[in-house]
């Protein structure tokens, strides 16, 4: 995902001389070529997330198109007030690219985990929140970002993320992508969990359960038309994300359900992190599994939920 980011950014920078890249001393061995090619349109502001975000806002205010790249947890926590006041409040069209969504930096510990960023970013007026599932979606969002004239938060996983989409996709910010049709329920997944969601659907299919699957790359604005249509169509709605179950995709979908005023006959379950810091050290796969977020556990929980209904 990281290499898709820098490659697509270079493409954009070649045709648009306002495009620039700002890093906060991250991305060793990723940006060297970009820096050589675009010289002053690449800046490393050092380990200083407040100034990192403010500088991005100032660049945008004075006509540049800055893509500011940093580790999710540092950028969205230390730089939060700057994101709120300098980017969102003042409507400066900065593209914030966060690497290390969820447990991407699992073994590094909770300082490097990203449990709250989606919740924080989707609360902010003027902010759009996108979590691409794979390099194909990442490329699509990057292409859409160039002319996107508002603050944009793109949350990616780690350096190498597997491809989920086989071929071309039809991508539009705010519109979920149907990846699989079904009849027994629908699973909305976002970002790095879409790949796991595909496995969940395959496991369930072996038990005769057919779930529809959507990649909800955009969490804000949430695709409420799609969610409302799914409420009519499916008896059960599930969400899956590598983020706290409070405040992320699940909450965004839940808000749409509640606002509809017609939740009586809908089964709704959010899969995400519990309200805790990771209690132990572990890899992404280990920690996700410890919360029941591996494909096997999610499939089993969905089966049990549907059985009870």
């Amino acid at each position: 995902m990281r290499s898709t980011f820098v490659n697509t950014l270079a493409e954009l920078a070649r045709k648009n001389d306002r495009v620039m890249c700002v890093i906060g001393d991250t991305g060793f061995s990723v940006f060297e070529e970009f820096e050589r090619e675009f010289k002053e349109r690449f800046i490393n502001v050092g380990i200083a997330e407040q100034n990192f975000v403010s500088v991005g806002a100032g660049l945008a205010a004075m006509g540049m198109k800055p893509y500011i790249y940093n580790v999710v947890s540092f950028m969205t926590l230390r730089g939060l007030e700057e994101i709120v006041l300098d980017v969102c409040y003042q409507e400066n069209p900065v593209v914030l690219v966060g690497v290390g969504g969820g447990h991407a930096y699992g073994p590094a510990g909770p300082t490097h985990h990203a449990y709250f960023d989606i919740a924080m970013m989707r609360m902010l007026p003027n902010m759009t929140v996108v979590c691409p599932a794979d390099p194909v979606e990442m490329r699509a969002i990057m292409m859409a970002s160039e002319t996107f004239d508002k603050p944009l938060y793109i949350r990616i996983g780690r350096s190498v993320d597997p491809v989920v989409h086989d071929g071309e996709i039809s991508f539009e910010i705010g519109k979920g992508i149907c990846m699989r049709e079904g009849s027994d329920g629908v699973l909305f997944a976002t970002g790095t969990m879409v790949k796991d969601a595909v496995q969940v659907c395959e496991l369930l299919a072996r038990h005769g359960i057919r779930l529809a699957l959507y990649s909800m790359h955009t969490i804000k604005p949430i695709d409420d038309m799609l969610i409302q249509a799914c409420m009519q169509k499916y008896p059960a709605i599930f969400t899956l994300e590598e983020h706290s179950a409070n405040g992320g995709l699940g909450s965004a979908v839940g808000d749409v359900l509640l606002a509809s005023g017609n939740t009586q006959n809908v089964i709704f379950h959010k899969f995400g992190f519990p309200d805790t810091f990771a209690p132990v050290t572990g890899s992404r796969e280990y920690l996700n599994a410890s919360y029941g977020l591996d494909a096997d556990s999610v499939a089993r929980q969905i089966r049990e939920t549907l059985k009870k209904a």
């Binding site: 407040q50 100032g58 660049l59 945008a60 006509g63 540049m64 007030e81 300098d86 003042q90 409507e91």
Partner: protein
């Protein structure tokens, strides 16, 4: 006194008087830190920035950022006397349903014409200003970026992050002005958080530092003119030694004028002392 000095003095006098009138009406306070900045604002808007309504859209314009956004009333009055907003608009200060908040809000986002950046939380102007200065450099644009900060604001770590950045990238078109009135919110800077020799601190971060009397128009003008978009070099930091409440005898160096606004009787004293 040179003619331009007299003009600036007249401008500053009018601003002080109108600020007192506005704050007497709205009770929005922060007059002390406004009065300590008004001479700097006056030199900027009369002699340095060279702005009019049309120029505000010119990418080659000089940019002024008020980072100590709490002196919004003093800034609005300055903008009115500089012809960037109408004098009638001063009636709208903190009025329900209007755009004239107690802290400045950028024109393009429900704010006031001539306000280039929304402010209110301290320690943001230097970073945004540095980004703007870099963007100007990158696009070969003329014009400098001037940022007015408080000395209490320099308690914020973000100010020092920006100073490092501006120095590393040789932003000679960035001028940070510190209104060194030595009084912050809860006490003097020495009592609250003694920052010692601020000028030496900025110099050690790689900035070109000038320490001036922030009420001396010649010194203010000379210092402000060191900013340049021509050659990459050090950013400029002006430590402007000022008096909080300058221009009203009962306010000068009195902490409470961070919070109070002049009542009718005090307003009359101000008018008298300003020669009105």
């Amino acid at each position: 006194m040179e003619k331009w000095n007299e003009e600036v003095a007249e401008f500053a006098r009018n601003v002080r008087v109108d600020v007192a009138k506005v704050l007497n009406r709205t009770n929005d306070s922060h007059i002390g830190g406004g009065y300590s900045s008004i001479d700097i604002l006056s030199v900027l808007y009369k002699k340095v920035l060279n702005l009019d309504k049309d120029k505000l859209k010119d990418p080659n314009r000089n940019v002024f950022i008020l980072s100590k956004g709490h002196i919004a009333a003093s800034f609005y009055v300055t903008l009115a006397h500089a012809g960037l907003i109408s004098m009638e608009d001063l009636e709208k200060h903190t009025v329900n349903g209007e755009f004239y908040a107690g802290h400045t809000r950028k024109f393009q986002t429900n704010g006031v014409q001539g306000v280039e950046m929304s402010a209110g939380s301290l320690g943001h102007g230097s970073g945004v200003g540095a980004g703007m200065a870099y963007a100007k450099r990158c696009q070969g644009l003329d014009g400098n970026v001037y940022v007015l900060m408080g000395d209490g604001e320099c308690n914020e770590g973000s100010v020092w992050e920006s100073a490092m950045f501006a120095s590393k990238f040789q932003l000679s078109n960035l001028v940070l002005i510190v209104d060194r009135n030595r009084l912050q919110s809860y006490g003097s800077d020495k009592e609250v958080m003694d920052m010692g020799d601020l000028g030496a601190k900025f110099a050690s971060f790689g900035c070109q530092v000038m320490e001036i009397d922030g009420h001396d128009y010649n010194q203010i003008y000379r210092a402000l003119m060191t900013g340049t978009s021509r050659n990459p070099a050090k950013p400029t930091v002006i430590i402007a030694n000022t008096v909080k409440g300058k221009g009203a005898s009962f306010m000068e160096n009195r902490l409470e004028w961070h919070f109070k606004s002049p009542n009718e009787e005090q307003l009359q004293i101000i008018l008298k002392e300003q020669g009105i």
